[in-house]
């Protein structure tokens, strides 16, 4: 018996191998989609409220639709679910009129109308402290929103205590964000109670329910006082958020101040609505699975495989379906840029986001029609820890910045036409560019000082700060996340600082997580940073460095800067400025009264925008003068897209909605034949 099984063993092993191989070889690749693109890394989630990345945006932006969309050519807001909107005279009240033919849809073919209530629900959910959306701040201009998300309230304010039971429940009583049962109460006070061994204290809320005081805490089970009851959280009354559905198709949002770019934000993907029924029926994370997911965008998600592909199909119920030309789209998760380029070159992928720096010169030399680096809303800069001497001295920081030869970096290392930068905000935003230009003209500031002058000035500054020729300057470190390009740039700068200023620095390359931890905890001297703008407004960059802002991370504080950033949101024309604009418009010849009014309102709008841009520019000037950051260059988009892809426009956000993209089949056939691929 034993002998037999021994004889059988090799055959058994062979059979196993053959069986496995047979299974492998019976696999079939899915049919290619109409349009395929490499989306960088895997997406984190399809829940618009919890993601922050660009790859997520490229999926979520196409399966959901917010109130507005962005025009693919110049990113101005265009109708989405809202077919029209009005902004009140004071710029604070937005009224959106929702189209009646917008529908929710799932793969099974069920549909439900999209209503204003869906947006109320979604925005409340977006602001829910338990969702803890990283982008919550974009709604903080809405009345009551920040207080709701942060849980700030006064004694006597109505609050809702979310109880721990029932554990999951669909509630349909006007408090639709709820997951547990809600108890209406009046806020009395909150105190923090330290718990032994835990890094955070528990918050104990005292509230008044029907005239009786009770105490609640989410950590009640960890506290000694057993009279404290357990709750999930204590929320402000949701009605305190000024987002209201006036009827099924009218949504009103009230802001605390007029924010010029607020309307732009309404097209930003985190503000996409989610379907309440879907979220609450399935719960998290089950509602995000393709078989359960309900969305309202031009595409539906047909399948999703981790790190492989997401297949999108045209949503047949989408209101603007005639403008959706692609029936299937494959979104590939390809983490290596080289691999993405290989796929592109062999015709398997129609659009890639970037190419490896090493091939850039070759691609540029070929003068390819499909590779034209374009300005991109992103900056590469060094943060300086201004709390550590000698970097606390602005003269030192200025000197460090002055001697960097940025041109050499962009010419020899990055090589795709990146723009050497001495300021933070990238070019490409019309108003801001104009404000800069005007300033340059009016101040007669011929920005171009020669490199020799810069170096001389830097040496003087360093000597003034007490380190002539770098003498007595302590050794400092330059932190970056380990990456070939970052390292090369750091080495070059290290050499320049050594040569021109006599300063020795040490390069510290760390893996991503440790690098972030050091930067966030300000355990660094100088640290590399890349920042991509969230929306096309200078504020998305300048807002980073307000004193004590979460993203500041340099320890730099400047009251004047904070004032200007805040002021920019409230900019109005004063009477004399307004009169000036009116006078200018009146001086124009023979307009009809109606045209005159339109022209006047446009002129006032433009003048306001320019005034605001100027305020922001002044803020940036402070930033550049004080130099808590050392700008290096502004990125360019290095995307490649096949010429047969129509309806694809270059823009500063490198944002390309799939709706409106077409494949010119004749051109594609010709092209594929020409290149001999596929």
């Amino acid at each position: 018996m034993r002998l037999d099984s021994r004889k059988l063993f090799p055959y058994f092993a062979l059979l196993l191998c053959v069986g496995a191989l047979g299974w492998v070889f019976s696999r079939k690749a899915p049919a290619p989609a109409d349009f395929t693109f490499a989306n960088g890394d895997d997406i984190k989630s399809v829940d618009p409220a919890v993601v922050t990345g660009a790859p997520e945006g490229r999926v979520i932006g196409n399966i959901y639709e917010g109130l507005l969309n962005w025009d693919p050519e110049d990113l101005h807001p265009v109708p989405g679910v809202a077919e029209s909107w009005e902004i009140s005279e004071d710029g604070k009240t937005y009224t959106f009129h929702l189209r009646k033919d917008a529908l929710w849809a799932n793969l099974a073919g069920d549909t439900w109308p999209v209503t204003a209530h869906d947006f109320v629900y979604s925005y409340r959910r977006f602001l829910d402290p338990q969702i803890a959306s990283q982008y919550a701040f974009i709604l903080f201009y809405v009345e009551g929103a920040e207080a709701f998300q942060r849980g700030t309230r006064k004694k006597g304010d109505p609050v809702d205590v979310e109880l721990t039971d029932p554990p999951q429940q669909v509630i349909d009583d006007g408090r639709p964000h709820a997951r547990g049962e809600m108890l209406r109460a009046k806020f009395v006070s909150v105190e923090e109670v330290k718990i032994e061994g835990r890094k955070r204290p528990a918050r104990v809320y005292t509230v008044e329910v029907d005239g009786e005081q009770r105490q609640y805490s989410s950590k009640a089970d960890k506290l000694d006082d057993k009279s404290i009851r357990k709750c999930r959280q204590v929320l402000n009354d949701v009605e305190s958020i000024a987002i209201r559905a006036l009827d099924d198709h009218t949504l009103r949002i009230k802001l605390i101040t007029s924010v010029p770019y607020f309307i732009n934000l309404m097209g930003f993907y985190p503000l996409s609505p989610v379907n309440q029924r879907c979220v609450e029926t399935h719960g998290f994370p089950a509602w995000t699975k393709v078989e359960n997911l309900v969305t309202n965008g031009p595409f539906l998600m047909e399948s999703r495989r981790l790190r492989d592909r997401i297949r999108l199909i045209k949503n047949p119920h989408y209101w603007d379906r005639d403008k959706v030309y692609l029936n299937t789209v494959d979104v590939l998760a390809v983490s290596s840029d080289t691999t993405a380029l290989n796929l592109y070159m062999t015709g398997k992928v129609d659009w890639i986001l970037t190419v490896p720096a090493t091939v850039v010169p070759e691609l540029l030399k070929q003068k390819r029609e499909d590779f034209k680096p374009a300005p991109y809303l992103a900056a590469y800069f060094y943060r300086v820890n201004t709390t550590r001497p000698p970097l606390d001295d602005p003269r030192v920081r200025k000197a460090l910045s002055l001697v960097i030869n940025r041109q050499e970096i962009t010419d020899n290392i990055t090589r795709a036409g990146e723009v050497p930068a001495t300021h933070l905000v990238p070019p490409g935003m019309a108003d801001y560019d104009r404000a800069r230009q005007q300033h340059r003209k009016s101040s007669g500031d011929s920005a171009a000082t020669s490199r020799e002058q810069d170096i001389k000035r830097a040496q003087e500054l360093l000597a003034e700060a007490g380190f002539p020729g770098g003498k007595g300057f302590r050794k400092i470190e330059l932190l970056y996340n380990s990456n070939e390009t970052h390292e090369q740039i750091a080495q070059l700068i290290q050499a320049q600082w050594k040569e021109e200023l006599g300063i020795n620095i040490e390069l510290v390359g760390k893996e991503w997580g440790s690098y972030l931890a050091d930067q966030h905890n300000m355990e660094y001297w100088i640290s590399r940073t890349g920042w991509i703008g969230d929306y096309s407004d200078p504020n998305t960059f300048l807002d980073l460095f307000v004193s004590d802002g979460t993203q500041n991370q340099t320890g730099w504080k400047n009251a004047e800067y904070d004032k200007l950033i805040k002021l920019a949101a409230f900019v109005r024309l004063d009477d004399s400025e307004r009169a000036g604009v009116e006078k200018g418009v009146r001086a124009l010849p023979n307009w009809s009264a109606k045209e005159h009014d339109r022209l006047l309102s446009e002129a006032v709008d433009l003048a306001t925008r320019m005034k605001r841009a100027e305020v922001l520019r002044q803020a940036e000037e402070i930033l550049v003068r004080e130099q808590p950051i050392i700008p290096i260059y502004h990125y360019v988009s290095k995307a490649m897209v096949r010429p047969y892809v129509k309806g694809f426009y270059r823009n500063v956000r490198d944002d390309h909605p799939l709706k409106g993209i077409r494949i010119d089949q004749d051109a594609k056939a010709r092209f594929l034949k020409g290149e001999g691929v596929r």
């Binding site: 990283q134 995000t288 492989d308 390809v334």
Partner: protein, 306 residues
């Protein structure tokens, strides 16, 4: 046999527990956390997230909660970074893909390796032996990504018979499997050659020849078996390694296997996913070694399982 298995399983449980403990504390000792991103997380949000994953508890409590969930409920938890997925789902999606690739790679490695090893040992000292062993040495020395790079240039661009990357049909498997298997093939070839040379000099082979058996039969039936022992012991860890995937091959060929998840989980401090994958890898490694031990007793009658 049953006693042997029971003992080994007990050891496996113990090993897993040690691995769990060491990984748990190592992961939390590394700076940064699962919520570090370029945009620094808001302190309010951090508080919520840490509470959600029990990361605000003291370490011993966290350890106990994790251990309880893993052992008692058999639940590896939710991924902290890929929030739509549970760890079990991530493994269930990735492991079959890594395994598929691994099986084909192993088939390549064994076929090529054993053939080359046997041929060069039989033709010892000839040009054939020399060239095969040179190729094998180069194969061991060349890193995966170089082999893959050369292969891509050759059979994707110059002679386009395979797709550059991706996953789906059989055409996507061949090239990465070859690149993944090549160093293993080279190593196996050297092992087989050494083993064969060792065996071919032994008395029972001379006896077999003296009985008048055909050389082919002597080599295939008698010598091969003995020569396979070192290969079998090499195969245990090798199969475990190959089944859980190769980071470099997965990246170059954009294959959605497990290895990249592993590395990404470590980089992003996705504690639950990293832990799930460490445990999966340990289990696989242990199982493979157990199978190797069992296979010894089949390959060599002198080995007794105890």
């Amino acid at each position: 046999m049953i006693g042997f298995l029971a003992k080994r399983l007990l050891w496996m449980a113990l090993t897993l527990w040690v691995v769990f403990t060491v990984s748990f504390f190592l992961m939390r000792a590394v700076p940064g956390g699962p919520f570090s991103e370029e945009r620094k997380i808001d302190p309010y949000a951090l508080e919520v997230f840490e509470a959600r994953y029990n990361l605000d508890e003291p370490l011993p409590v966290q350890y106990w909660l994790e251990l309880k969930r893993t052992v008692w409920h058999g639940d590896l938890g939710l991924s902290i970074r890929k929030v739509d997925y549970t760890v079990a789902e991530i493994i269930a999606e990735g492991l079959p893909i890594s395994a598929t690739l691994g099986i084909v790679a192993m088939a390549f490695a064994l076929t090529l390796g054993i053939t080359a090893g046997v041929v060069s040992s039989v033709r010892r000292g000839t040009v054939l032996d020399f060239s095969l062993m040179t190729v094998a040495t180069v194969g061991i020395a060349l890193p995966n990504f170089v082999v893959a790079g050369i292969a891509i240039v050759l059979v994707v661009f110059i002679w386009p018979i395979f797709p550059a990357a991706g996953w789906g049909g059989v055409q996507h498997v061949i090239l990465p499997a070859f690149c993944l298997g090549a160093p293993y093939a080279a190593y196996i070839a050297r092992l087989v050659r050494t083993g064969m040379l060792d065996v071919l000099g032994q008395d029972y082979i001379r006896t077999a020849y003296a009985k008048g058996l055909m050389p082919r039969r002597v080599i295939m039936r008698h010598a091969m078996k003995g020569a396979m022992l070192p290969v079998a012991s090499f195969l245990g860890p090798a199969v475990a390694g190959i089944l859980t995937g190769s980071l470099i091959i997965e990246q170059i060929f954009a294959i959605p296997g497990l290895a990249y998840n592993f590395v990404q989980a470590a980089v992003q401090r996705d504690y639950t996913v990293a832990m799930g994958l460490v445990l999966t890898y340990t289990t696989l490694l242990y199982t493979m070694n157990l199978l190797v031990d069992i296979s010894y007793s089949y390959l060599d009658p002198r080995v007794k399982l105890e």
